[in-house]
C-alpha cells in the first residue's frame, strides 16, 4: 500500500484558484461537494491514509486500494473483485477515478454519495467483511496517529461517519481529465490521430454512444447518470424468475445492507437497479459508466465479462442482447471493422496523460487478444440481417 500511497501523491496536481479541479465547471463542482465535507489538507490526508488501510477489513488484508489499485487504473483488472478470504463477488470493481462526478455510486446506484458508498464495502461479508461500523474502526480507534488525524480533520474522535467522509474527500481529489482528447478539444489538432478523430465523429453519430455516454463541458466523464439494460445480464440468467425471487426477499427485509449483500452474493445481482428501486422498468439495468480512462480499466461491464474494448464494440454493434427489458435505444449499429477500430482508438484517447505508458501497454495487450478472439462478434446481427428479437420471437432463445 505504501507504493500506492506514494504513487497517488505523485499524480496529484495543485487545484486552480477556482477551487474546482481543472476540466470541471466550477459552478458544477460547487454543487457536488457537500457543505459539511469540503476538501482540505487534513481531510484529504486522512482519507488517503484510510483508503489504503487494510486494518479496516475483518482479516486485515483488504483495503479500498486492494480493488481500486492506483497502479492498475484504480481498479483490480479482474472480471469480478476478490475480497477477504478469497471470496469472489459478482460485480466488476469500477475505477475510483473521477467518481466525484457521478450522481450515484455502485453499478446499481444504491449509494447517493461517496460518503454513503465508502461504508458499504467495509461491511460487506465478501468484500471487507466487517459486521458493522464499530468493528470497522476497532482496528484504528486506539492508534494515536489516527486519533490526531480525525481531530484535525473533523474535530471529533475516531468514528465511522467521519471515516467515510474522509475517504470521500480523498476520492474527490482523484480527478483525471487531462487526456489527449482534452488537448484536441482545446485546439491541438495533433493531440490525437485521424482514427481517433473519426471515432469521435462516429461516437456522436452513427455509433449512438451519446444516447447514454454524453460528454459535455459540465460533465466531461461520459455518462448520463442513468441506468440502462443493454443486455449484458441477459447472457446469464432468467430474468422473470429472478425478479419474482427478488420481490419475495426484499419484502422480508429491505435495508441497504440486505440489498448490498443480495447484490453481491446471489444471482439477484443480475437484476441491477431493480433490486434498489423495485421498478419493473429497472430490471437488468446498470449505471452508465464513464468512458474516461476506459483504456486502462479492463475488463468491462458490471460483470467484467468483456475483456477488450473490441468486445464492447461487438456487443453494441449487434444490438446488445435481446431480453424483455432491453433499453429501446439499443439497436444494431451496422458499424464496419474500420469504424470499430476508429471508435476504439477514440476511447483510448480518453486516458489521462499521467497514465500514458499504461494506456499504450493496454492498447497493445487488448489489440493482441482481439486479433484472435472476438467472442461476441456477430456480423449478421450487426448488419441487421438477423434482428435482435427475431430468434426469441420464433421461440428459439
Amino acid at each position: 500500500m505504501t507504493t500506492q500511497t506514494t504513487r497517488v501523491m505523485e499524480l496529484m496536481r495543485p487545484l486552480p484558484a477556482s477551487g474546482a479541479p481543472a476540466g470541471i465547471e466550477p459552478s458544477f463542482w460547487k454543487a457536488i461537494v457537500p457543505a459539511d465535507n469540503a476538501g482540505n489538507e487534513a481531510r484529504i490526508a486522512l482519507g488517503r491514509k484510510l483508503y489504503f488501510e487494510p486494518k479496516l477489513s475483518k482479516d486485515g488484508t483488504v483495503a479500498c486500494g486492494t480493488c481500486h489499485d492506483v497502479s492498475r487504473g484504480f481498479t483490480d483488472r479482474r472480471g469480478t473483485s476478490e475480497g477477504i478470504g478469497d471470496k469472489v463477488g459478482r460485480r466488476n470493481g469500477p475505477t475510483t477515478m473521477n467518481v466525484a462526478l457521478f450522481f450515484s455510486q455502485f453499478w446499481d446506484g444504491r449509494a447517493a454519495t461517496l460518503e454513503e458508498q465508502a461504508k458499504l464495502p467495509i461491511q460487506n461479508p465478501i468484500e471487507m467483511g466487517q459486521p458493522d461500523g464499530n468493528a470497522a474502526i476497532a482496528g484504528i480507534k486506539k492508534d494515536p496517529e489516527y486519533q490526531k488525524a480525525f481531530k484535525e480533520a473533523y474535530g471529533r474522535d475516531v468514528n465511522f461517519d467521519d471515516l467515510a467522509r474522509a475517504i470521500a474527500a480523498f476520492e474527490r481529489t482523484l480527478i483525471f481529465l487531462d487526456a489527449p482528447f482534452d488537448r484536441f478539444i482545446a485546439g491541438d489538432m495533433k493531440a490525437i490521430d485521424d482514427d481517433a478523430k473519426a471515432g469521435w465523429v462516429i461516437y456522436n453519430g452513427k455509433g449512438r454512444c451519446t444516447s447514454c455516454h454524453q460528454i459535455s463541458s459540465s460533465n466531461p466523464i461520459g455518462t448520463d447518470n442513468r441506468f440502462h439494460n443493454v443486455g449484458v445480464s441477459a447472457r446469464h440468467q432468467d430474468f422473470e424468475g429472478l425478479a419474482k425471487k427478488a420481490l419475495v426477499a426484499l419484502a422480508k427485509d429491505s435495508s441497504k445492507e440486505t440489498i448490498d449483500k443480495l447484490a453481491l452474493e446471489t444471482d439477484l445481482a443480475e437484476l441491477g437497479r431493480f433490486v434498489v428501486t423495485k421498478n419493473r422498468a429497472d430490471i437488468g439495468s446498470f449505471k452508465t459508466q464513464q468512458v474516461r480512462n476506459v483504456g486502462i480499466t479492463a475488463p468491462y461491464m458490471h460483470d467484467g465479462s468483456m475483456a477488450t474494448l473490441w468486445d464492447v464494440m461487438d456487443h453494441y454493434n449487434k444490438g446488445g442482447e435481446a431480453n424483455p427489458y432491453l433499453d429501446g435505444g439499443i439497436e444494431p449499429l451496422a458499424l464496419s471493422e474500420k469504424e470499430i477500430d476508429q471508435l476504439v482508438a477514440f476511447m483510448f484517447s480518453l486516458t489521462d496523460l499521467r497514465f500514458d505508458a499504461d494506456n499504450k501497454a493496454e492498447f497493445a495487450r487488448q489489440k493482441k487478444i482481439a486479433a484472435s478472439k472476438r467472442p461476441l462478434r456477430d456480423d449478421a446481427a450487426a448488419q441487421r440481417k438477423v434482428l435482435p428479437f427475431e430468434r426469441r420471437a420464433e421461440g428459439k432463445r
Binding site: N229, R280, A281, L387, P388, A393
Partner: protein, 382 residues
C-alpha cells in the same frame, strides 16, 4: 402576437358541437332506442343542413343506474393480449419496425398465464403492400395463443382490402367467449376521395398513410358496417357484456388526425341498449381512456412509434402517458393486455417498453375517474 383579451370569446367547432350534442341528449334522455335513433337522425339531418354536425366527446349523463353491478349468472373473468399498429415496411427497407413487432411477439409468448387470445389491432402494413402484409402474417404465426385480426387504414387502401381478405378473412366478424360477445369492425371506411383526383392506388394509399393529410375523408364504420353490427347484435341480450374492437376510436377526438369516427353517434346508439360495452381501438398509438354513457373506451399502444396527444378534444378520463423520449426509438411503444371482469368491464394494461406498466382499471372508468386514477406523468405533452 394577436391581442387575445380584446377578441370576442370564440368557441371552437368542437366545443360548440359538444354543447349542442349534450343539449340534444338531455332532450332525448327519456326516449327508447328506436325513437332515439330516429330523432337523432333527424337532428343530424337538421344540423347537417345548417352546416354543423353534433360531435361528442363528453360523457353523457344517462338517467339510469351508474356503475352496473355484475350481471346475473356466473361468468368468469378472462384476459386477452394485443399487439397493434406495427406499420411494417419490408425488412430490407426498415428493420426497426420489424424488430419491434418481433419484440411484441416475444412479450406475448412469455406471458404467464397465456392469454385466451391475442387481438391484432390493425395497421399491420405501412403502405398496404402484399409483401408487408405477408411479412406481418409470417411473424405473427409465431404467436402461441390464438390470434384474431382487425384491419386498419394502412392495410386497406392500396388494394381496398384484397390482400387482407386473402390473408385474414372477412374484416367484420364476431364471436362469443366465456359469456361475452365480441365484435371486430372495419371502422376505417372512407368516402371516395381518390377517383375525382384520378389517383393511382399508391397515391391513394400514401394519402391515407399521412395522418395529417387533409385529402382523405374521415373514418366511418359506414352504412353497411352499421347494418351488419345492428344485425349481429340483435340476438344479444342487453345484459350480455359486449366488447367491440375497432381501429378508429368510435368517438370524436380530433378530426385533423382522424382520431375520429364520423358516424360515432350512430354506432354508439346501436350499442346504447347494452349494460356494459367496452371498445378497444387502435390508430392513436397512445394511452387513451374515455367513457360515453355505457361505453368504456381504451386505446392500444403501437409497436412502431407513439403519436403526440391532440391539441384539443382530449377525453376527461385520459391520464396521458408521459411524453416519449425522442432519444429512445421504442419509448412510448409497446403492447398490452386486458382483464375482462365478469361484468364485462376491463382492466386495461399498457405494457410500455422500458417503463413501468400502466393499468387503467375497471374501477377507474366505472367510477368516472373517482377511483384508482393512474399516476400523472412528470413530463407532459407539448
Amino acid at each position: 402576437m394577436s391581442d387575445f383579451k380584446k377578441r370576442p370569446s370564440v368557441k371552437s367547432i368542437e366545443t360548440k358541437h359538444m354543447e349542442e350534442r349534450a343539449e340534444l341528449f338531455r332532450a332525448l334522455k327519456s326516449l327508447d332506442r328506436r325513437s332515439f335513433v330516429k330523432v337523432a337522425a333527424a337532428a343530424f339531418g337538421a344540423a347537417a343542413a345548417s352546416g354543423v354536425t353534433p360531435h361528442s366527446f363528453q360523457p353523457v349523463r344517462v338517467a339510469h343506474a351508474q356503475g352496473a353491478a355484475p350481471a346475473g349468472g356466473k361468468r368468469e373473468s378472462f384476459h386477452f393480449a394485443y399487439i397493434s399498429d406495427s406499420h411494417l415496411l419490408e425488412r430490407t427497407l426498415n428493420d426497426r419496425f420489424v424488430n419491434a413487432l418481433m419484440r411484441a411477439v416475444d412479450d406475448i409468448n412469455a406471458m404467464d398465464p397465456q392469454p385466451d387470445f391475442v387481438l391484432y389491432g390493425g395497421d399491420l402494413a405501412q403502405l398496404g403492400q402484399p409483401k408487408e402484409l405477408e411479412l406481418g402474417a409470417q411473424i405473427l404465426k409465431s404467436v402461441k395463443a390464438p390470434i384474431k385480426f382487425m384491419v386498419g387504414e394502412h392495410d386497406w387502401y392500396l388494394d381496398m382490402g384484397e390482400k387482407w381478405r386473402e390473408l385474414f378473412g372477412k374484416p367484420l366478424y364476431s364471436w362469443d367467449h366465456k359469456g361475452v360477445h365480441l365484435v371486430v369492425l372495419n371502422s376505417v371506411v372512407e368516402k371516395d376521395f381518390w377517383t375525382a383526383r384520378k389517383m393511382s392506388p399508391m397515391d391513394r394509399m400514401k394519402t391515407v398513410a399521412g395522418l395529417d393529410n387533409g385529402w382523405q375523408s374521415s373514418f366511418t364504420v359506414g352504412d353497411e358496417g352499421r347494418k351488419w353490427l345492428d344485425e349481429d347484435l340483435k340476438k344479444v341480450p342487453a345484459t350480455t357484456p359486449v366488447i367491440v374492437f375497432s381501429h378508429s376510436p368510435l368517438y370524436k377526438l380530433y378530426k385533423p388526425w382522424n382520431f375520429w369516427t364520423d358516424d360515432a353517434e350512430q354506432v354508439q346508439a346501436i350499442l346504447k341498449r347494452f349494460q356494459n360495452v367496452v371498445v378497444f381501438h387502435g390508430h392513436t398509438h397512445q394511452l387513451l381512456t374515455n367513457r360515453i354513457g355505457n361505453i368504456h373506451f381504451h386505446g392500444f399502444l403501437s409497436t412502431a412509434w407513439p403519436w403526440p396527444y391532440a391539441p384539443q378534444g382530449m377525453p376527461e378520463l385520459t391520464v396521458q402517458m408521459g411524453r416519449p423520449d425522442p432519444f429512445d426509438p421504442q419509448d412510448g411503444c409497446g403492447d398490452g393486455s386486458a382483464m375482462i371482469h365478469p361484468d364485462g368491464l376491463a382492466d386495461k394494461v399498457y405494457n410500455l417498453w422500458n417503463r413501468n406498466p400502466v393499468t387503467v382499471s375497471r374501477n377507474y372508468t366505472a367510477s368516472r375517474g373517482a377511483k384508482e386514477k393512474p399516476a400523472v406523468p412528470n413530463l407532459k405533452s407539448y
